[in-house]
Symmetry: C2
Subunit: 215 residues, 2 copies
DNA sequence: GGCAAAATATGCGTACACGCAAGTTTGCGT
DNA sequence: ACGCAAACTTGCGTGTACGCATATTTTGCC
């Protein structure tokens, strides 16, 4: 009874949502994202244009949703499946890295690069990992301090967004930088170093939870 | 020569922007936010409706901009003015708390509560403190690791957003919580505890910078 | 002062987001 | 099996976002 609420209803809703996502991605890939109207997506998914906006509140949202749809679930799964004895920060880093290193999504990752609006929507969508991460952190912290878990999860999401934003940045012409600017490394490296900055906060929370449980 | 680029041009731009902000806020306060159209704001500011969208890309943005316009500047000022010997985390917390505790903005803070769209825009606008905070942290860290500063600033902004979101939440009817739910404390408390969770990460970065400067 | 280039303002046209008030489907109690 | 209430879909209407082409202003330069 984790996700189910009312059976057929929920089932159809998810189906419609998935149909819209996939239609949006398919059309965007074959025509280019600029040549896809909302009406086209709705038609391809077999619903009215108005219904489209009951599911997604912007044209780009459906496209990026198709790309990031399962990331959140996979992050959560990787976190709960992982060994509980590892450092929370390490478990998180591993789980997240895993999701952004899959070479399977090559085309999609290239697609989001093409338009500013898509880039923006993609960064927004990355925030969706916050909820599962908050749940996972909350579990690791013993469900005691939920609001700390929320803050840490929000920070993790922010760090991921920072890394993604830097990775998405067009390699601008260095006008006269005396070699002081790092040339925007690979995504895994960017993610690692971004999350590394948060590790002390995660460690501290973990330690506090441990002390609480001993008392 | 910090902000100036070409004199008159920039000056007029800022004037137009300010006029739009203030017109938007004034109209929203006197008619209620739902009864203000973009055309009204543009007319009140003496520009064409199209020009409005050259400055703000949503109806709500102008309203919240009027409210949060100076927050970023004030945070930056408070950070650079503060004693450099204090802990970075403390300086940050103080500077931010100061900005959200001013009783002068009572009406405005009530205004953003009234509509979901406004709440959302307000949370978005809170992200504007990221840039000045990043600059300030970067300075404190000796301008060595810019990307760490960015990540930390993004996390701080995320923490602030988390606190604000919780504060904005309508006090929902507790359906059957056995007294386990904290009843959404005051904004200063929420901000303090949110930022406290990040303090260890800020400490660690500061310590690292100190060691680097000694070497 | 006058001029060419760059930045900005405006009008227009198209596509979009979303509230509202129907109509339709689903779930549940009896 | 039946019917009711809640949830979902749909069409319509209004207001909004923004690309593009054009007119206007500002600036650096001579």
């Amino acid at each position: 009874m984790t996700t189910r609420r009312t059976g057929l209803r929920e089932q159809k809703k998810q189906a419609t949502r998935a149909a819209l996502r996939e239609a949006a991605l398919r059309l965007a890939l074959e025509r280019g994202p600029g040549n896809v109207r909302v009406d086209d997506i709705a038609e391809a998914a077999g619903v009215s244009p108005r219904t489209y906006n009951n599911y997604f509140s912007s044209r780009e949202q459906a496209i990026v949703a198709a790309i990031t749809a399962e990331r959140e679930a996979r992050v959560a799964a990787a976190l709960t499946a992982g060994p509980a004895r590892a450092r929370l920060a390490d478990a998180l880093t591993e789980a997240i890295l895993e999701q952004y290193t899959q070479p399977r999504d090559r085309d999609e990752m290239l697609l989001v690069t093409t338009s500013p609006a898509l880039r923006e929507a993609f960064l927004d969508a990355a925030g969706a990992i916050e909820d599962p991460v908050a749940a996972a952190i909350g579990r690791r912290l013993g469900d005691a301090d939920t609001s700390t878990a929320r803050v840490l999860a929000a920070s993790v999401a922010a760090a991921v967004r920072t890394a993604l934003r830097q990775w998405l940045q067009p390699p601008v012409e260095p006008p006269a930088t005396g070699g002081l600017v790092v040339p925007s490394g690979s995504l895994p490296d960017l993610l690692r170093s971004a999350l590394a900055a948060l590790a002390p906060a995660l460690d501290a929370a973990e330690e506090k939870a441990r002390q609480r449980s001993l008392r």
